[in-house]
C-alpha cells in the first residue's frame, strides 16, 4: 500500500471508481442503454443522458495523446519522480476519453505511444492509476 499525502476524496459518485482501483481494477462508467463510456464517473451518460449505468472494467489500454514533463511538482507525493512524464491517454474503448496519469516507461514519449494502466492501492477504499509501456506490444 502506498503512503500518500494527497489522495482523492471519494464521494457518492466516485467511491466505486476509487474502490475498483484500490482492488486492482480500472473501471469506467458504461451505459447499459446506449453503450457509451463516460469519464469521470458521473451519474449521467454523456451519450444519451440516461441514468442506467454500470461501472465496467475496461481493457486498460490506450495511446498517449498529449504529455508534459513535470519539472516542478506541487504534489508532495510526486516530487520524488521529478522530472516525470505526465501523459493524457486516449482510451482504446472511446476516442473522446482522456485519462491523466504518470507515465512509467524508459521509452521516448510521443503521440500514439501505446500504454496500459497500472493500479496502485492507496487505502483499502481508494486507489490510483498510472500508465506504463511495460508488456505492451508495439
Amino acid at each position: 500500500m502506498a503512503e500518500r499525502i494527497i489522495a482523492p476524496i471519494a464521494d457518492r459518485d466516485s467511491a466505486p471508481y476509487w474502490q475498483a482501483l484500490a482492488d486492482g481494477h480500472f473501471k469506467v462508467t458504461h451505459c447499459n442503454d446506449c453503450g457509451h463510456w463516460t469519464w469521470p464517473p458521473r451519474p449521467i451518460c454523456s451519450g444519451c443522458h440516461g441514468g442506467n449505468l454500470s461501472l465496467d472494467e475496461v481493457k486498460g489500454t490506450g495511446e498517449v495523446f498529449s504529455w508534459i514533463v513535470v519539472h516542478r511538482s506541487t504534489s508532495p507525493d510526486m516530487m520524488q519522480y521529478v522530472p516525470y512524464v505526465l501523459a493524457l491517454v486516449r482510451l482504446d474503448e472511446q476516442a473522446d476519453i482522456y485519462i491523466p496519469g504518470r507515465l512509467i516507461s524508459d521509452k521516448e514519449v510521443h503521440r500514439g505511444l501505446k500504454v496500459r494502466v497500472v493500479t496502485e492501492k492507496i487505502t483499502d477504499e481508494v486507489g490510483d492509476l498510472a500508465w506504463t509501456t511495460e508488456g505492451v506490444p508495439l
Binding site: 522530472p83 482522456y98 496519469g101 492507496i122
Partner: protein
C-alpha cells in the same frame, strides 16, 4: 444559433470608475482592506459617493472578502444585487457581464465589481494542499497523478497545438517577451526588467513545454470597477466605457466527453456569441486584453476570437502584429497577468478602461475605441467569459 445573444443590453451600461491598489508580493494587509481601498478609489474616480453603491460582485476560490461583509462595512443599506461567484479566471468577465445585466434591467443602479487577493503572500496557486470536499468535483480525478496546477493542464493543450500546427517554444517565448515589453513603462507592473527570447529559452522548465517565463505572476492586490447606466454615465466626468457585449458559459476541458481535439481553441464557441451580443466582429476590435495565465492561452485566444486562422499566430508575432506600438491588434498593453500582476483578470478591465479613455499616457494605443477583454478561455473549469468594451 438562436438570437438569444441579441438580448444582452448592448451599450446600455457603462464603466464609470476604476480603482486599484499597489500590486505586490506582500500587501501586508487583508483582502478586506485591499477590496475596500480599491472600491474607495474606484468610486472617487467616478465622482460618486460610497452610499450610492447598491450592488457588489466578486469571484474567487474562497480566498477573498465576500460582498455581504463589504456591504456591512461600507454601510450599504440598500443592496439590490450581489454576486459571489466561485471559481477563478474563467469567470472573471462573467461578473462584469452580470453587473451589466443587473444595471441594464434596472434592478440595480450602481454595481461595483471587485477582485481582491493575497495570491502571493497568503493563498498561492502553486501551493501543495490536500484536496477537500469544497474543491470542484472533478479535481479528484487529476490530483492523484500530481496533475494539479493550471500550468500543467494548459501545457498539455500547448503540446497538442505543437503537435498539430508545428508551434514552437520560441512562439510562446515571443508572447512572454511581448508582455514584458509592454510592462516596462507601466508604473503598476510588478515585472519591469526587460527579457529577451534567449532569456525565455534559458528559463527553467516548470511543466515542459512551459518554462518559468510562460507562467504568470502570483500577486497581492485588488481592482474595482464601477458599473452604472449609460444614461447616468453621460453626467459623470470620464468618457463612458460602454459594455457593448458579453458572453459567458461553456469552455472545454478533459471532462467534456465528446470533445476530441485539445488543439482547438475553446474560445471559439464563446466568441461567436460574444460578437453577436455586441453586434460586431473581430475587425471592430482595436485592442485586446486577453487572459494570460500562461503564454499559450494568448495564442489560442487570438485564434479563437477570430484574429488569426489556427497556426497563423507564430508568423504574425514575428511581424509584430500584436505589438502595442504599430501592431494591427495590440494585446495586453499593460503587460498582462504575465508581467503586470495577477489580479485574476480584473486588472485587464482596468487597463482597457484607461486605454479607451485615452488616459494610458505612454502606453496609449493609437486606436482605442473598442476593446476585447477576456477571462480564462475555458480549459479547467469548463467555463469561460468575455466582454467587449467601447468608448461612448
Amino acid at each position: 444559433m438562436s438570437d438569444r445573444a441579441n438580448r444582452f443590453p448592448r451599450g446600455q451600461t457603462a464603466i464609470v470608475g476604476i480603482g486599484c491598489t499597489e500590486y505586490s508580493k506582500d500587501s501586508g494587509v487583508s483582502t478586506f482592506a485591499l477590496a475596500a481601498s480599491a472600491i474607495r478609489t474606484a468610486m472617487a474616480d467616478a465622482r460618486l459617493e460610497i452610499d450610492e453603491i447598491d450592488g457588489l460582485c466578486t469571484f474567487g476560490t474562497s480566498d477573498s472578502i465576500s460582498p455581504n461583509l463589504l456591504a456591512q462595512a461600507l454601510g450599504i443599506k440598500s443592496m439590490n444585487f450581489y454576486l459571489d461567484q466561485y471559481l477563478g479566471g474563467s469567470v472573471s468577465m462573467s461578473i462584469v457581464a452580470q453587473a451589466a445585466l443587473a444595471v441594464g434591467t434596472g434592478v440595480a443602479d450602481c454595481v461595483v465589481c471587485y477582485r481582491a487577493l493575497n495570491g502571493r503572500s497568503q493563498q498561492r496557486k502553486g501551493g501543495a494542499k490536500a484536496p477537500n470536499a469544497s474543491m470542484p468535483w472533478d479535481i479528484q480525478f487529476k490530483i492523484a497523478s500530481g496533475y494539479m496546477v493550471p500550468a500543467q493542464e494548459m501545457a498539455m493543450n500547448a503540446r497538442a497545438h505543437m503537435l498539430r500546427y508545428g508551434t514552437k517554444s520560441e512562439d510562446f517565448g515571443r508572447l512572454a517577451v511581448l508582455c514584458r515589453t509592454n510592462a516596462l513603462d507601466n508604473e503598476r507592473a510588478m515585472m519591469r526588467k526587460p527579457i529577451t527570447l534567449d532569456d525565455y529559452m534559458a528559463s527553467e522548465w516548470i511543466a515542459e513545454p512551459f518554462h518559468k517565463l510562460d507562467c504568470c505572476l502570483e500577486s497581492d492586490g485588488a481592482v474595482a470597477i464601477v458599473v452604472t447606466s449609460t444614461e447616468r454615465a453621460r453626467d459623470l466626468p470620464h468618457r463612458p466605457v460602454l459594455i457593448q457585449g458579453a458572453a459567458w458559459g461553456g469552455g472545454v476541458n478533459i471532462s467534456n466527453n465528446g470533445f476530441d481535439d485539445l488543439a482547438v481553441s475553446p474560445a471559439g464557441p464563446l466568441a461567436e456569441r460574444l460578437y453577436k451580443s455586441a453586434g460586431m466582429g473581430p475587425k471592430n476590435i482595436d485592442f485586446a486584453e486577453l487572459y494570460d495565465c500562461f503564454t499559450f492561452p494568448l495564442l489560442s485566444q487570438i485564434e479563437g476570437y477570430g484574429f488569426a486562422q489556427p497556426g497563423e499566430v507564430p508568423d504574425m508575432l514575428k511581424d509584430g502584429a500584436f505589438d502595442r506600438a504599430g501592431g494591427q491588434l495590440p494585446i495586453n498593453t499593460h503587460g498582462g497577468l504575465l508581467s503586470e500582476a495577477y489580479i485574476h483578470g480584473l486588472n485587464h478591465v482596468y487597463e482597457a478602461v484607461e486605454q479607451i479613455r485615452g488616459d494610458a499616457a505612454h502606453r496609449q494605443v493609437k486606436k482605442h475605441d473598442t476593446a476585447l477583454v477576456t477571462g480564462q478561455l475555458g480549459y479547467i473549469s469548463g467555463y469561460s467569459s468575455a466582454v467587449i468594451l467601447g468608448g461612448a
